[in-house]
Protein backbone atom coordinates (compact mmCIF):
# COMPACT_ATOMS: atom_id res chain seq x y z
CA UNK A 1 0.00 0.00 0.00
CA UNK A 2 1.45 3.36 -0.89
CA UNK A 3 1.58 6.00 1.80
CA UNK A 4 0.54 9.25 0.19
CA UNK A 5 0.56 12.71 1.68
CA UNK A 6 -3.18 12.26 2.14
CA UNK A 7 -2.53 9.27 4.38
CA UNK A 8 -0.02 11.23 6.45
CA UNK A 9 -2.38 14.18 6.78
CA UNK A 10 -5.24 11.96 7.90
CA UNK A 11 -3.01 10.11 10.35
CA UNK A 12 -1.79 13.37 11.89
CA UNK A 13 -5.37 14.60 12.14
CA UNK A 14 -6.51 11.40 13.85
CA UNK A 15 -3.56 11.51 16.23
CA UNK A 16 -4.50 15.10 17.09
CA UNK A 17 -8.06 13.98 17.84
CA UNK A 18 -6.63 11.20 19.97
CA UNK A 19 -4.46 13.72 21.83
CA UNK A 20 -7.55 15.85 22.49
CA UNK A 21 -9.21 12.76 23.98
CA UNK A 22 -6.25 11.54 26.01
CA UNK A 23 -4.23 14.54 27.17
CA UNK A 24 -6.84 15.75 29.70
CA UNK A 25 -7.21 12.22 31.10
CA UNK A 26 -3.44 11.88 31.53
CA UNK A 27 -3.30 15.34 33.12
CA UNK A 28 -5.98 14.26 35.56
CA UNK A 29 -4.07 11.08 36.44
CA UNK A 30 -0.89 13.05 36.97
CA UNK A 31 -2.60 15.75 39.03
CA UNK A 32 -4.08 13.12 41.32
CA UNK A 33 -0.63 11.79 42.12
CA UNK A 34 1.28 15.08 42.32
CA UNK A 35 2.04 16.56 45.74
CA UNK A 36 1.33 20.10 44.63
CA UNK A 37 -0.06 20.58 41.13
CA UNK A 38 0.41 24.34 41.25
CA UNK A 39 4.15 23.85 41.65
CA UNK A 40 4.27 20.91 39.25
CA UNK A 41 5.56 17.36 39.19
CA UNK A 42 8.86 18.60 40.67
CA UNK A 43 7.10 18.74 44.06
CA UNK A 44 7.09 14.96 44.02
CA UNK A 45 4.59 12.16 43.54
CA UNK A 46 2.41 10.88 46.34
CA UNK A 47 -0.50 8.58 47.18
CA UNK A 48 -1.67 10.91 49.96
CA UNK A 49 -4.46 12.42 47.89
CA UNK A 50 -5.83 8.99 46.99
CA UNK A 51 -5.83 8.00 50.67
CA UNK A 52 -7.50 11.25 51.64
CA UNK A 53 -10.19 10.78 48.99
CA UNK A 54 -10.77 7.21 50.08
CA UNK A 55 -11.19 8.30 53.69
CA UNK A 56 -13.77 10.95 52.95
CA UNK A 57 -15.56 9.54 49.91
CA UNK A 58 -15.46 5.73 50.19
CA UNK A 59 -19.20 5.48 51.09
CA UNK A 60 -20.03 6.95 47.66
CA UNK A 61 -17.95 4.24 45.99
CA UNK A 62 -19.75 1.47 47.86
CA UNK A 63 -23.17 2.97 47.20
CA UNK A 64 -22.41 3.28 43.49
CA UNK A 65 -21.22 -0.33 43.31
CA UNK A 66 -24.33 -1.53 45.13
CA UNK A 67 -26.53 0.54 42.84
CA UNK A 68 -24.78 -0.76 39.73
CA UNK A 69 -25.15 -4.41 40.77
CA UNK A 70 -28.77 -3.97 41.84
CA UNK A 71 -29.49 -2.10 38.60
CA UNK A 72 -27.93 -4.89 36.52
CA UNK A 73 -30.00 -7.51 38.36
CA UNK A 74 -33.25 -5.55 37.95
CA UNK A 75 -32.60 -4.78 34.30
CA UNK A 76 -31.85 -8.47 33.64
CA UNK A 77 -35.00 -9.61 35.39
CA UNK A 78 -37.27 -7.29 33.42
CA UNK A 79 -35.16 -6.81 30.30
CA UNK A 80 -34.38 -10.35 29.13
CA UNK A 81 -38.05 -11.47 29.10
CA UNK A 82 -38.95 -8.17 27.43
CA UNK A 83 -36.33 -8.71 24.71
CA UNK A 84 -37.67 -12.22 24.17
CA UNK A 85 -41.23 -10.94 23.88
CA UNK A 86 -40.25 -8.14 21.48
CA UNK A 87 -38.35 -10.51 19.18
CA UNK A 88 -41.19 -13.05 19.23
CA UNK A 89 -44.04 -10.61 18.69
CA UNK A 90 -42.36 -8.43 16.05
CA UNK A 91 -45.56 -6.53 15.21
CA UNK A 92 -46.67 -2.92 15.35
CA UNK A 93 -47.28 -3.09 19.10
CA UNK A 94 -43.83 -4.45 19.88
CA UNK A 95 -42.16 -1.80 17.75
CA UNK A 96 -44.13 0.92 19.55
CA UNK A 97 -43.08 -0.59 22.87
CA UNK A 98 -39.44 -0.58 21.83
CA UNK A 99 -39.81 3.07 20.92
CA UNK A 100 -41.28 3.80 24.35
CA UNK A 101 -38.44 1.95 26.04
CA UNK A 102 -35.76 4.04 24.29
CA UNK A 103 -37.50 7.31 25.11
CA UNK A 104 -35.96 7.73 28.62
CA UNK A 105 -32.51 7.64 26.99
CA UNK A 106 -33.43 10.15 24.30
CA UNK A 107 -35.06 12.56 26.74
CA UNK A 108 -32.79 14.86 28.76
CA UNK A 109 -32.02 13.07 32.04
CA UNK A 110 -32.91 16.16 34.02
CA UNK A 111 -36.47 16.11 32.64
CA UNK A 112 -36.98 12.44 33.53
CA UNK A 113 -35.59 13.02 37.01
CA UNK A 114 -37.85 16.02 37.51
CA UNK A 115 -40.88 13.98 36.45
CA UNK A 116 -40.00 11.20 38.91
CA UNK A 117 -39.29 13.69 41.68
CA UNK A 118 -42.53 15.62 41.25
CA UNK A 119 -44.62 12.44 41.08
CA UNK A 120 -43.03 10.24 43.74
CA UNK A 121 -41.17 12.83 45.81
CA UNK A 122 -43.92 13.03 48.44
CA UNK A 123 -43.38 9.42 49.55
CA UNK A 124 -40.69 10.25 52.13
CA UNK A 125 -39.46 6.73 52.84
CA UNK A 126 -39.06 5.93 49.17
CA UNK A 127 -37.65 9.36 48.32
CA UNK A 128 -34.84 9.14 50.87
CA UNK A 129 -33.78 5.58 50.14
CA UNK A 130 -31.33 4.53 47.47
CA UNK A 131 -34.14 2.65 45.72
CA UNK A 132 -35.35 5.98 44.35
CA UNK A 133 -32.07 6.38 42.45
CA UNK A 134 -32.26 2.73 41.42
CA UNK A 135 -35.58 3.37 39.65
CA UNK A 136 -34.01 6.15 37.61
CA UNK A 137 -31.01 4.02 36.69
CA UNK A 138 -33.19 1.07 35.65
CA UNK A 139 -35.25 3.32 33.35
CA UNK A 140 -32.15 4.83 31.80
CA UNK A 141 -30.19 1.59 31.28
CA UNK A 142 -32.98 -0.78 30.22
CA UNK A 143 -32.58 -0.30 26.43
CA UNK A 144 -28.83 -0.88 26.68
CA UNK A 145 -29.50 -4.45 27.79
CA UNK A 146 -32.57 -5.14 25.66
CA UNK A 147 -30.89 -4.01 22.40
CA UNK A 148 -27.88 -6.43 22.44
CA UNK A 149 -30.01 -9.30 23.77
CA UNK A 150 -32.52 -8.75 20.96
CA UNK A 151 -29.70 -8.65 18.42
CA UNK A 152 -28.39 -12.04 19.62
CA UNK A 153 -31.88 -13.56 19.74
CA UNK A 154 -32.69 -12.42 16.22
CA UNK A 155 -29.83 -14.21 14.57
CA UNK A 156 -30.02 -17.55 16.34
CA UNK A 157 -32.15 -20.55 15.47
CA UNK A 158 -34.19 -19.98 18.61
CA UNK A 159 -37.68 -20.78 17.24
CA UNK A 160 -36.48 -24.16 15.97
CA UNK A 161 -34.73 -25.03 19.22
CA UNK A 162 -37.77 -23.95 21.21
CA UNK A 163 -40.08 -25.95 19.02
CA UNK A 164 -37.88 -28.99 19.61
CA UNK A 165 -38.01 -28.41 23.37
CA UNK A 166 -41.79 -27.89 23.23
CA UNK A 167 -42.31 -31.11 21.27
CA UNK A 168 -40.34 -32.92 23.97
CA UNK A 169 -42.80 -31.57 26.54
CA UNK A 170 -41.04 -28.53 28.00
CA UNK A 171 -43.42 -25.80 29.22
CA UNK A 172 -42.94 -22.11 28.40
CA UNK A 173 -41.06 -21.31 31.62
CA UNK A 174 -38.75 -24.28 31.31
CA UNK A 175 -38.14 -23.39 27.64
CA UNK A 176 -37.25 -19.83 28.56
CA UNK A 177 -34.71 -20.78 31.21
CA UNK A 178 -33.15 -23.84 29.60
CA UNK A 179 -33.21 -22.86 25.92
CA UNK A 180 -33.59 -19.10 25.46
CA UNK A 181 -31.40 -17.74 28.27
CA UNK A 182 -28.38 -20.07 27.73
CA UNK A 183 -28.44 -19.29 24.02
CA UNK A 184 -28.06 -15.56 24.46
CA UNK A 185 -25.51 -15.50 27.27
CA UNK A 186 -23.08 -13.38 25.22
CA UNK A 187 -25.71 -10.72 24.55
CA UNK A 188 -26.76 -10.66 28.20
CA UNK A 189 -23.14 -10.34 29.33
CA UNK A 190 -22.48 -7.45 26.94
CA UNK A 191 -25.67 -5.75 28.10
CA UNK A 192 -24.88 -6.22 31.78
CA UNK A 193 -21.40 -4.76 31.38
CA UNK A 194 -22.86 -1.75 29.57
CA UNK A 195 -25.54 -1.32 32.25
CA UNK A 196 -22.98 -1.47 35.08
CA UNK A 197 -20.70 1.02 33.31
CA UNK A 198 -23.55 3.46 32.68
CA UNK A 199 -24.98 3.10 36.16
CA UNK A 200 -21.58 3.82 37.75
CA UNK A 201 -21.28 7.04 35.75
CA UNK A 202 -24.90 8.24 35.66
CA UNK A 203 -25.14 11.84 36.82
CA UNK A 204 -27.97 13.75 35.10
CA UNK A 205 -30.73 11.77 36.80
CA UNK A 206 -28.84 10.99 39.98
CA UNK A 207 -28.08 14.59 40.83
CA UNK A 208 -31.79 15.38 41.08
CA UNK A 209 -32.74 12.10 42.79
CA UNK A 210 -30.02 11.93 45.42
CA UNK A 211 -30.27 13.06 49.05
CA UNK A 212 -27.35 13.91 51.35
CA UNK A 213 -27.60 10.35 52.66
CA UNK A 214 -27.55 8.74 49.23
CA UNK A 215 -24.55 10.20 47.41
CA UNK A 216 -23.23 8.17 44.50
CA UNK A 217 -19.74 8.38 43.04
CA UNK A 218 -20.55 10.90 40.26
CA UNK A 219 -22.44 13.07 42.78
CA UNK A 220 -19.37 12.98 45.02
CA UNK A 221 -17.24 13.87 42.01
CA UNK A 222 -19.39 16.92 41.27
CA UNK A 223 -19.07 17.91 44.94
CA UNK A 224 -15.31 17.62 44.90
CA UNK A 225 -15.04 19.55 41.60
CA UNK A 226 -17.00 22.39 43.13
CA UNK A 227 -15.26 22.56 46.49
CA UNK A 228 -12.13 20.46 46.89
CA UNK A 229 -8.64 21.32 45.67
CA UNK A 230 -7.59 20.19 42.22
CA UNK A 231 -5.40 17.35 43.48
CA UNK A 232 -8.23 15.81 45.51
CA UNK A 233 -10.67 16.12 42.61
CA UNK A 234 -8.12 14.50 40.30
CA UNK A 235 -7.42 11.66 42.71
CA UNK A 236 -11.15 11.04 43.00
CA UNK A 237 -11.42 11.00 39.19
CA UNK A 238 -8.51 8.55 39.15
CA UNK A 239 -10.43 6.17 41.43
CA UNK A 240 -13.47 6.46 39.16
CA UNK A 241 -11.40 5.74 36.05
CA UNK A 242 -9.79 2.73 37.76
CA UNK A 243 -13.29 1.34 38.30
CA UNK A 244 -14.64 2.06 34.84
CA UNK A 245 -11.75 1.35 32.45
CA UNK A 246 -11.52 -2.45 33.15
CA UNK A 247 -15.27 -2.64 32.46
CA UNK A 248 -14.81 -0.80 29.18
CA UNK A 249 -11.97 -3.11 28.12
CA UNK A 250 -14.11 -6.17 28.86
CA UNK A 251 -16.97 -4.58 26.93
CA UNK A 252 -14.80 -3.99 23.87
CA UNK A 253 -13.54 -7.59 23.98
CA UNK A 254 -17.07 -8.97 24.17
CA UNK A 255 -18.49 -6.79 21.42
CA UNK A 256 -15.56 -7.79 19.19
CA UNK A 257 -16.43 -11.43 19.85
CA UNK A 258 -20.10 -10.80 19.19
CA UNK A 259 -19.46 -9.11 15.86
CA UNK A 260 -17.13 -11.97 14.85
CA UNK A 261 -19.98 -14.37 15.57
CA UNK A 262 -22.22 -12.25 13.38
CA UNK A 263 -19.92 -12.61 10.40
CA UNK A 264 -19.62 -16.39 10.78
Amino acid sequence: MKRTTLFIAQLVFTLLVCAFMLVPVLMSLLAGLTRNYFVGVSSGLTFDWLIQVWQSYSPTVWLSLRLAVACAVCVCVIGVPAAYALVRMNNRFSRAFEELMVLPVAMPGLASALALLLTYGQFGEFRSSWLFILVGHVLFTLPFLVRPVMAVMQRQQLPTLEEAAASLGAGPIKRFFSVVVPNCRAGILAGVLMVVTLSLGEFNLTWMLHTPMTKTLPVGLADSYASARLEVASAYTLIFLLMIVPLLIALQAISARLSRGERR
Partner: protein, 289 residues
Protein backbone atom coordinates in the same frame (compact mmCIF):
# COMPACT_ATOMS: atom_id res chain seq x y z
CA UNK B 1 -38.35 -23.48 -10.15
CA UNK B 2 -38.71 -26.51 -7.89
CA UNK B 3 -37.30 -24.65 -4.94
CA UNK B 4 -40.12 -22.10 -4.83
CA UNK B 5 -42.88 -24.25 -3.27
CA UNK B 6 -40.35 -25.63 -0.81
CA UNK B 7 -39.47 -22.13 0.31
CA UNK B 8 -43.10 -21.18 0.76
CA UNK B 9 -43.66 -24.24 2.91
CA UNK B 10 -40.58 -23.39 4.96
CA UNK B 11 -41.78 -19.85 5.57
CA UNK B 12 -45.29 -20.95 6.51
CA UNK B 13 -44.02 -23.57 8.98
CA UNK B 14 -41.78 -20.94 10.56
CA UNK B 15 -44.81 -18.69 10.77
CA UNK B 16 -46.69 -21.49 12.55
CA UNK B 17 -43.90 -21.90 15.06
CA UNK B 18 -43.99 -18.20 15.81
CA UNK B 19 -47.77 -18.26 16.10
CA UNK B 20 -47.62 -21.08 18.63
CA UNK B 21 -44.92 -19.36 20.69
CA UNK B 22 -46.55 -15.94 20.65
CA UNK B 23 -49.16 -16.00 23.47
CA UNK B 24 -46.57 -16.83 26.11
CA UNK B 25 -44.25 -14.22 24.67
CA UNK B 26 -46.63 -11.35 25.39
CA UNK B 27 -46.63 -12.24 29.10
CA UNK B 28 -42.87 -11.83 29.22
CA UNK B 29 -43.34 -8.16 28.40
CA UNK B 30 -45.46 -7.52 31.50
CA UNK B 31 -42.71 -6.63 34.04
CA UNK B 32 -41.03 -4.15 31.71
CA UNK B 33 -44.41 -2.67 30.76
CA UNK B 34 -45.34 -2.23 34.43
CA UNK B 35 -42.08 -0.47 35.28
CA UNK B 36 -42.28 1.83 32.26
CA UNK B 37 -45.92 2.66 32.96
CA UNK B 38 -45.43 3.42 36.65
CA UNK B 39 -42.09 5.19 36.55
CA UNK B 40 -41.96 6.72 33.10
CA UNK B 41 -45.36 7.28 31.45
CA UNK B 42 -47.17 8.33 34.61
CA UNK B 43 -44.49 10.81 35.77
CA UNK B 44 -44.20 12.16 32.22
CA UNK B 45 -47.95 12.73 31.99
CA UNK B 46 -47.81 14.41 35.40
CA UNK B 47 -44.99 16.67 34.20
CA UNK B 48 -46.90 17.66 31.07
CA UNK B 49 -50.05 18.49 33.08
CA UNK B 50 -48.04 20.35 35.71
CA UNK B 51 -46.42 22.53 33.05
CA UNK B 52 -49.90 23.71 32.03
CA UNK B 53 -50.89 24.84 35.50
CA UNK B 54 -50.37 28.33 36.79
CA UNK B 55 -49.15 29.23 40.25
CA UNK B 56 -51.32 31.60 42.31
CA UNK B 57 -53.42 32.74 39.40
CA UNK B 58 -50.51 33.44 37.07
CA UNK B 59 -50.26 32.16 33.51
CA UNK B 60 -49.53 28.54 32.70
CA UNK B 61 -45.93 27.38 32.83
CA UNK B 62 -45.72 27.01 29.06
CA UNK B 63 -46.87 30.58 28.49
CA UNK B 64 -44.43 31.89 31.10
CA UNK B 65 -41.60 30.15 29.26
CA UNK B 66 -42.68 31.17 25.76
CA UNK B 67 -43.23 34.81 26.72
CA UNK B 68 -39.97 35.23 28.62
CA UNK B 69 -36.95 36.45 26.67
CA UNK B 70 -34.63 34.81 29.19
CA UNK B 71 -36.02 31.29 28.88
CA UNK B 72 -36.48 31.52 25.12
CA UNK B 73 -32.94 32.87 24.81
CA UNK B 74 -31.54 29.95 26.75
CA UNK B 75 -33.52 27.51 24.59
CA UNK B 76 -32.25 29.08 21.37
CA UNK B 77 -28.71 29.19 22.73
CA UNK B 78 -28.88 25.52 23.75
CA UNK B 79 -30.20 24.48 20.33
CA UNK B 80 -27.55 26.51 18.47
CA UNK B 81 -24.76 25.14 20.66
CA UNK B 82 -25.99 21.56 20.20
CA UNK B 83 -26.28 22.03 16.42
CA UNK B 84 -22.79 23.53 16.21
CA UNK B 85 -21.33 20.70 18.30
CA UNK B 86 -23.10 18.14 16.11
CA UNK B 87 -21.69 19.63 12.90
CA UNK B 88 -18.17 19.87 14.32
CA UNK B 89 -18.30 16.33 15.71
CA UNK B 90 -19.58 14.94 12.40
CA UNK B 91 -16.77 16.67 10.52
CA UNK B 92 -13.97 15.61 12.89
CA UNK B 93 -15.35 12.14 13.61
CA UNK B 94 -16.19 11.58 9.94
CA UNK B 95 -12.64 12.27 8.77
CA UNK B 96 -11.07 10.11 11.49
CA UNK B 97 -13.70 7.39 11.21
CA UNK B 98 -13.29 6.92 7.44
CA UNK B 99 -9.53 6.95 7.86
CA UNK B 100 -9.56 4.34 10.64
CA UNK B 101 -12.02 2.11 8.78
CA UNK B 102 -10.11 2.19 5.49
CA UNK B 103 -6.45 2.10 6.39
CA UNK B 104 -4.50 -0.70 8.00
CA UNK B 105 -1.41 0.33 9.93
CA UNK B 106 0.48 -0.55 13.06
CA UNK B 107 -1.35 0.48 16.23
CA UNK B 108 -4.71 1.01 14.52
CA UNK B 109 -6.79 -1.12 16.89
CA UNK B 110 -5.13 0.47 19.92
CA UNK B 111 -5.97 3.89 18.50
CA UNK B 112 -9.60 2.85 17.97
CA UNK B 113 -9.81 1.51 21.52
CA UNK B 114 -8.36 4.73 22.99
CA UNK B 115 -10.70 6.90 20.90
CA UNK B 116 -13.82 5.05 22.01
CA UNK B 117 -13.16 4.98 25.78
CA UNK B 118 -14.49 8.50 26.45
CA UNK B 119 -17.92 7.40 25.21
CA UNK B 120 -18.73 6.10 28.69
CA UNK B 121 -17.34 9.07 30.65
CA UNK B 122 -20.10 10.88 32.52
CA UNK B 123 -20.70 14.56 31.83
CA UNK B 124 -19.27 15.71 35.16
CA UNK B 125 -15.93 14.04 34.43
CA UNK B 126 -15.87 15.59 30.94
CA UNK B 127 -16.49 18.98 32.55
CA UNK B 128 -13.55 18.44 34.88
CA UNK B 129 -11.33 17.42 31.94
CA UNK B 130 -12.28 20.69 30.21
CA UNK B 131 -11.26 22.55 33.37
CA UNK B 132 -7.91 20.77 33.30
CA UNK B 133 -7.46 21.82 29.67
CA UNK B 134 -8.71 25.38 29.76
CA UNK B 135 -9.33 26.26 33.41
CA UNK B 136 -7.41 28.58 35.72
CA UNK B 137 -4.57 26.10 36.28
CA UNK B 138 -5.12 24.35 32.96
CA UNK B 139 -2.88 23.44 30.06
CA UNK B 140 -3.89 26.42 27.92
CA UNK B 141 -3.43 28.81 30.83
CA UNK B 142 0.22 27.83 31.23
CA UNK B 143 0.67 27.63 27.46
CA UNK B 144 -0.72 31.15 27.09
CA UNK B 145 1.45 32.37 29.95
CA UNK B 146 4.52 31.04 28.20
CA UNK B 147 3.64 32.25 24.70
CA UNK B 148 1.71 35.48 25.13
CA UNK B 149 2.24 36.40 28.75
CA UNK B 150 -1.42 36.01 29.70
CA UNK B 151 -3.46 33.04 30.88
CA UNK B 152 -5.85 31.67 28.28
CA UNK B 153 -8.94 30.69 30.26
CA UNK B 154 -12.10 29.71 28.40
CA UNK B 155 -13.39 26.71 30.34
CA UNK B 156 -16.12 28.56 32.21
CA UNK B 157 -17.85 29.94 29.11
CA UNK B 158 -19.81 28.60 26.16
CA UNK B 159 -16.48 27.79 24.49
CA UNK B 160 -15.67 25.43 27.34
CA UNK B 161 -19.11 23.88 27.03
CA UNK B 162 -18.55 23.46 23.30
CA UNK B 163 -15.25 21.65 23.93
CA UNK B 164 -16.86 19.40 26.52
CA UNK B 165 -19.79 18.45 24.27
CA UNK B 166 -17.39 17.85 21.39
CA UNK B 167 -15.35 15.59 23.67
CA UNK B 168 -18.17 13.12 24.24
CA UNK B 169 -19.66 13.42 20.73
CA UNK B 170 -16.54 12.57 18.70
CA UNK B 171 -16.15 8.93 19.91
CA UNK B 172 -19.79 8.21 19.05
CA UNK B 173 -19.41 9.59 15.52
CA UNK B 174 -16.16 7.66 14.96
CA UNK B 175 -17.79 4.38 16.03
CA UNK B 176 -20.85 4.91 13.83
CA UNK B 177 -18.85 6.03 10.79
CA UNK B 178 -16.48 3.06 11.12
CA UNK B 179 -19.43 0.66 11.25
CA UNK B 180 -21.13 2.36 8.29
CA UNK B 181 -17.91 2.31 6.23
CA UNK B 182 -17.81 -1.49 6.36
CA UNK B 183 -21.12 -1.72 4.53
CA UNK B 184 -20.06 0.82 1.89
CA UNK B 185 -19.43 -0.56 -1.59
CA UNK B 186 -15.79 0.11 -2.39
CA UNK B 187 -16.21 -0.64 -6.08
CA UNK B 188 -18.19 2.59 -6.44
CA UNK B 189 -15.19 4.58 -5.29
CA UNK B 190 -12.88 2.63 -7.58
CA UNK B 191 -15.26 3.24 -10.47
CA UNK B 192 -15.31 6.96 -9.71
CA UNK B 193 -11.51 7.02 -9.53
CA UNK B 194 -11.15 5.14 -12.81
CA UNK B 195 -13.55 7.62 -14.45
CA UNK B 196 -11.14 10.35 -13.48
CA UNK B 197 -12.69 11.81 -10.34
CA UNK B 198 -10.25 13.39 -7.88
CA UNK B 199 -10.19 12.68 -4.15
CA UNK B 200 -12.50 15.58 -3.40
CA UNK B 201 -15.06 14.50 -5.98
CA UNK B 202 -15.05 10.96 -4.61
CA UNK B 203 -15.52 12.20 -1.05
CA UNK B 204 -18.36 14.59 -1.98
CA UNK B 205 -20.16 12.42 -4.54
CA UNK B 206 -19.58 8.86 -3.28
CA UNK B 207 -18.48 8.59 0.35
CA UNK B 208 -20.61 11.32 1.95
CA UNK B 209 -23.88 10.25 0.23
CA UNK B 210 -23.10 6.64 1.15
CA UNK B 211 -22.57 7.54 4.78
CA UNK B 212 -25.45 10.04 4.88
CA UNK B 213 -28.03 7.86 6.68
CA UNK B 214 -25.54 6.92 9.40
CA UNK B 215 -24.35 10.52 9.70
CA UNK B 216 -27.90 11.86 10.04
CA UNK B 217 -29.01 9.40 12.72
CA UNK B 218 -25.75 9.69 14.64
CA UNK B 219 -25.89 13.46 14.38
CA UNK B 220 -29.39 13.42 15.82
CA UNK B 221 -28.19 11.42 18.82
CA UNK B 222 -25.24 13.79 19.31
CA UNK B 223 -27.69 16.69 19.19
CA UNK B 224 -29.98 15.02 21.72
CA UNK B 225 -27.11 14.29 24.10
CA UNK B 226 -25.82 17.84 23.85
CA UNK B 227 -29.29 19.26 24.51
CA UNK B 228 -29.62 17.37 27.77
CA UNK B 229 -26.02 17.32 28.95
CA UNK B 230 -26.45 18.72 32.43
CA UNK B 231 -23.33 17.28 34.07
CA UNK B 232 -20.80 19.15 31.96
CA UNK B 233 -22.61 22.48 32.25
CA UNK B 234 -23.02 21.96 35.99
CA UNK B 235 -19.29 21.39 36.50
CA UNK B 236 -18.29 24.36 34.36
CA UNK B 237 -20.51 26.74 36.28
CA UNK B 238 -24.17 27.30 36.95
CA UNK B 239 -24.05 30.78 35.42
CA UNK B 240 -24.07 29.37 31.88
CA UNK B 241 -27.39 30.15 30.25
CA UNK B 242 -28.30 26.76 28.78
CA UNK B 243 -31.66 25.12 29.35
CA UNK B 244 -30.66 22.16 31.59
CA UNK B 245 -28.96 24.61 33.96
CA UNK B 246 -31.96 26.94 33.73
CA UNK B 247 -34.28 24.07 34.71
CA UNK B 248 -32.04 23.21 37.63
CA UNK B 249 -31.87 26.83 38.82
CA UNK B 250 -35.63 27.36 38.51
CA UNK B 251 -36.31 24.15 40.40
CA UNK B 252 -33.80 24.45 43.25
CA UNK B 253 -33.38 28.20 43.71
CA UNK B 254 -36.92 29.42 43.08
CA UNK B 255 -38.85 26.17 43.71
CA UNK B 256 -40.97 27.16 40.72
CA UNK B 257 -42.21 23.70 39.78
CA UNK B 258 -44.54 24.73 36.95
CA UNK B 259 -41.90 26.64 35.00
CA UNK B 260 -39.33 23.87 35.63
CA UNK B 261 -41.83 21.30 34.36
CA UNK B 262 -42.74 23.42 31.32
CA UNK B 263 -39.07 23.97 30.44
CA UNK B 264 -38.37 20.23 30.77
CA UNK B 265 -41.32 19.34 28.57
CA UNK B 266 -40.30 21.85 25.89
CA UNK B 267 -36.66 20.70 25.97
CA UNK B 268 -37.76 17.07 25.75
CA UNK B 269 -40.18 17.83 22.91
CA UNK B 270 -37.54 19.64 20.84
CA UNK B 271 -35.06 16.79 21.38
CA UNK B 272 -37.61 14.16 20.49
CA UNK B 273 -38.75 16.07 17.39
CA UNK B 274 -35.17 16.21 16.08
CA UNK B 275 -34.71 12.47 16.68
CA UNK B 276 -37.99 11.73 14.90
CA UNK B 277 -37.10 13.99 11.97
CA UNK B 278 -33.72 12.28 11.61
CA UNK B 279 -35.44 8.91 11.57
CA UNK B 280 -37.68 10.10 8.73
CA UNK B 281 -34.72 11.37 6.73
CA UNK B 282 -32.52 8.32 7.32
CA UNK B 283 -34.73 5.27 7.15
CA UNK B 284 -32.01 2.90 8.26
CA UNK B 285 -30.93 2.74 11.88
CA UNK B 286 -27.98 0.98 13.46
CA UNK B 287 -26.41 3.75 15.47
CA UNK B 288 -24.70 3.49 18.80
CA UNK B 289 -26.98 4.70 21.54
Amino acid sequence: MTTVPLNVQDVSSRHDVLQRLRPTAAWALAPAAAVLLAFWLLPLAHLIVLGGQGREGSDSGYWQVLSSAQYLGSLVQTCLLAALVTLAALLVGGISGVFLARQQFFGRSALVALLTFPLAFPGVVVGFLVILLAGRQGLFASLGLGLAGERWIFAYSLTGLFIGYLYFSIPRVILTVMAACESLDRSLEEAAHSLGAGHWRVVCDVIVPGLAPALVSCGAICFATSMGAFGTAFTLGTRLNVTPVAIYNVFTNYANFTVAAALSVILGAVTWAVLLLARRVAKQSGTVL
